[in-house]
């Protein structure tokens, strides 16, 4: 009996630590941004760099006030969602709920499931064909699904031991220095967020995942979060990983969890 009580107390302590990790990580994360960008309100971080720089903000608002360059692509994504029968898959049948649910840790496969990985799986089931992971159809469909959840808050849940391990791996990837420039994701988007790197202002990591897939002027099109990860890796002179690989899915799990509580937005234009 004594052993049972000790085990139960030990287990509850472990579970407590596990759930506290994400909350305390995010608290420290948000506090850091409050310190370096004191004028930016928490909700504003969903606007990324446009929450930081007034000049860019004006341009951003002008683009949003007109017809955003991605509007047609997102509409097309909605048509494709129906055309390819993605509404027939349970995981995507309710698009708004699908956006909120993903990424999540699937206990059966012991893997993080992202929205794009769910779309790929469903697309393959419905059409018998493979779907890419970075741009084009998947970005359009994912953007349309995300649009259905505008105003809802990101809520990544990290509860089980497996989920916690995936989260920890994602966190390590985020903070690890890599590539010839010996840089981490955090070097630009946490410690130096709001500062300039050449002509560009570095965006804060807090809120990064509220507007994905994003439209980048540089790409002249929509792209998924994993496409952006690949670009960041290249900039650090590290070899990019394939989109939707386990390491990137774990990274997304951590990255999205840090934006818990922020509203999903359809303002997906970025420079």
């Amino acid at each position: 009996m004594k052993k049972l009580i000790t085990a139960a107390v030990g287990l509850s302590f472990l579970v407590g630590v596990a759930s506290a990790d994400v909350a305390s990580d995010q608290k420290a994360f948000i506090n850091h941004f409050k310190t370096i960008l004191p004028k930016v309100e928490f909700a504003e971080f969903s606007n990324g760099v446009y929450a930081v720089d007034e000049g860019s903000r004006e341009q951003f608002e002008e683009i949003l006030d007109g017809i955003p360059p991605y509007e047609g692509a997102v509409e097309k994504g909605g048509k494709e969602y129906l055309k390819f029968g993605l509404n027939k898959c349970a995981s995507l049948a309710d698009p708004a709920a699908a956006r909120i649910k993903h990424p999540y840790f699937d206990e059966a496969s012991q893997q993080v499931v992202t929205l794009e990985s769910a779309i790929k799986k469903c697309y393959a089931k419905q059409t018998g064909k493979k779907l890419g992971s970075k741009k084009g159809k998947i970005a359009r469909i994912s953007a349309w699904i995300s649009d259905q959840a505008v105003g809802k808050k990101i809520n990544v849940i990290v509860k089980s031991a497996g989920a916690k391990a995936a989260y920890a791996k994602g966190k390590a990837t985020f903070y690890a220095k890599r590539g010839q420039f010996n840089m981490s994701c955090a070097d630009c988007h946490v410690y130096n967020a709001g500062k300039k790197a050449r002509a560009d202002i570095l965006s804060p990591a807090l809120g990064h995942t509220t507007h994905v897939p994003m439209y980048r002027a540089k790409w002249a099109g929509l792209g998924t979060l994993h496409r952006r990860y690949g670009g960041c890796y290249k900039n650090m002179r590290a070899k990019p990983l394939k989109a939707q690989t386990e390491a990137y899915r774990n990274l997304e799990f951590f990255h999205q969890a840090m934006s818990n509580g922020l509203e999903i937005t359809d303002a997906r234009y970025r420079k």
Binding site: A28, A176, M236, T245, A247
Partner: protein
């Protein structure tokens, strides 16, 4: 006799160069493979290895050797990063 000696020395020198290139490129390839396995490879290492092989095939041995060594150095540095990455975390 003199000619034979020169030819023999040249052949010997060429075989030494070939051996040292082979070992340099093998070291680079081994390191790169290990870096890839842990998702910590550098962007240009693979290209350097390919380019070094091309240069060597074109008879540009010195340039090939230099590039093979450079690629190997990249893999050594990537391995050092891998060790540090295990304890990576926020600085605040």
């Amino acid at each position: 006799m003199k000619k034979i000696l020169i030819i023999a020395l040249s052949v010997f020198a060429l075989s030494v160069q070939a051996d040292s290139f082979k070992s340099a490129i093998k070291a680079a390839e081994t390191g790169y493979k290990a870096n890839l396995a842990v998702n910590m490879a550098w962007r240009d290492t693979g290209k350097m290895i390919k380019q070094a092989k091309k240069l060597y095939a074109a008879g540009k041995t010195d340039a090939a050797m230099a590039l093979a060594h450079k690629a190997h150095t990249q893999t050594v540095n990537a391995t050092k990063q891998t060790a540090l990455a295990k304890n990576a975390g926020p600085l605040f």
